[in-house]
């Protein structure tokens, strides 16, 4: 927690605290931390405004009702928490293109936006297909010794490391 060391803490300390936070979530709200399912709920909430009938008849949304629940609030919380930390450590900066992307690909905004959009769409499909993401399967599910979560977590990184090698180069 050396301030001169920039905005960041030791990854081990952060990991240990996230581990405790997972326990707190189970203890106080009977929920395992996971981010991805909330995006499906948010999509349902948005589409509901335009076509309520479709959402009511859709099999997925029958099982996963689109409502602002614990998980959707968790997403808003993550945005706020990261913002607070970024502001107090002087690390908040509005940027369109990440530095490493500029270095590896290009400083232009459009290629980054299109790739982020495509990557986001693929993540949305993949996370619902697998039933979770890096937090839900990777941390919460693996710590609960769920075979499905362990298989998903390994697959996330196999897919991501190979794609990164092809797309960004070695």
């Amino acid at each position: 927690m050396d301030i001169s060391n920039g905005p960041h803490w030791s990854p081990y300390l952060v990991g240990i605290l996230i581990g405790f936070l997972n326990i707190l979530a189970l203890l106080f709200s009977n929920r395992a931390i996971g981010a991805s399912s909330s995006y499906a709920k948010i999509s349902g909430i948005i589409v509901q405004k335009i076509n309520k009938d479709y959402i009511e008849k859709n099999e997925f949304f029958k099982k996963n009702p689109p409502e602002i629940d614990w998980g959707v609030m968790l997403i808003f919380g993550i945005i706020i928490g990261s913002f607070i930390s970024a502001i107090i450590s002087g690390d908040f900066a509005l940027i369109w293109v990440p530095n490493l992307w500029t270095y590896l690909i290009s400083p232009a905004i459009m290629p980054r936006m299109l790739t982020a959009l495509a990557g986001g769409i693929i993540i949305g499909i993949g996370s619902r297909w697998a039933g979770g993401c890096t937090s839900g399967h990777g941390i919460s599910g693996t710590a609960q010794l769920s075979p499905i979560s362990i298989a998903a977590s390994i697959s996330f990184f196999i897919g991501a490391i190979s794609t990164a090698a092809i797309f960004y180069g070695l």
Partner: protein, 184 residues
């Protein structure tokens, strides 16, 4: 606990846990594309260090709390097949976006406009597309549930779970030490 069933208290707890989670994700540096893509290119190991240390703590905590019936488990439903196919699809998007569903929310808080206007929008669109094709994927048998659905190995362990989770924690710690010595 009784207040679990009150929707507004649940929302408030979700918000509070989210704020703490987002704060920690930023402190860990993983609200940044640069750190995550460097991990995926095996040039930096911050992401793995955070994930493995959090698994160790949460797993050991569960090993004590679950047998004492203080918490219940929330193992996800599905199948190994869904996990592997969906996981590989996820991985492709994870590398292109350079962030995952939790860390992208953190990167929005950190000021990334590509995350806000493109990445986040993409995840919402992708999740909706999945919902649209969900019924068809189930009818075709591509999405299914197997014997691992909703299961945790904690329920297979007879007696004290620490006899398995303590050695597992030591192996993960050894892995972190090896990464620290050889790669960092």
């Amino acid at each position: 606990m009784k207040f679990n069933h009150n929707k507004n208290i649940q929302r408030f707890l979700g918000l509070m846990i989210g704020i703490a989670f987002g704060f920690l994700l930023h402190k860990g540096g993983v609200t940044k594309f640069d750190i995550i893509v460097s991990q995926l290119r095996l040039k930096d190991f911050t992401v793995l260090q955070i994930i493995l240390s959090s698994i160790i703590v949460a797993m050991l905590g569960i090993s004590y709390l679950y047998p004492h019936k203080i918490i219940s488990l929330k193992a996800k439903r599905g199948s190994l097949q869904n996990a592997v196919i969906g996981g590989l699809i996820f991985g492709v998007g994870f590398a292109l976006l350079g962030l995952c569903p939790g860390t992208i929310a953190g990167s929005v808080g950190n000021g990334s406009l590509d995350s806000l206007f493109a990445g986040l929008t993409g995840i919402i669109i992708g999740s909706f597309l999945f919902a649209v094709f969900y019924k068809k994927l189930r009818i075709l048998g591509i999405l299914k549930e197997d014997k691992y659905s909703g299961k945790s190995l904690f329920d297979k362990i007879e007696g004290n779970p620490f006899k398995y989770t303590l050695p597992a924690a030591l192996i993960l710690t050894a892995l972190l030490i090896v990464i620290e010595i050889l790669l960092v």
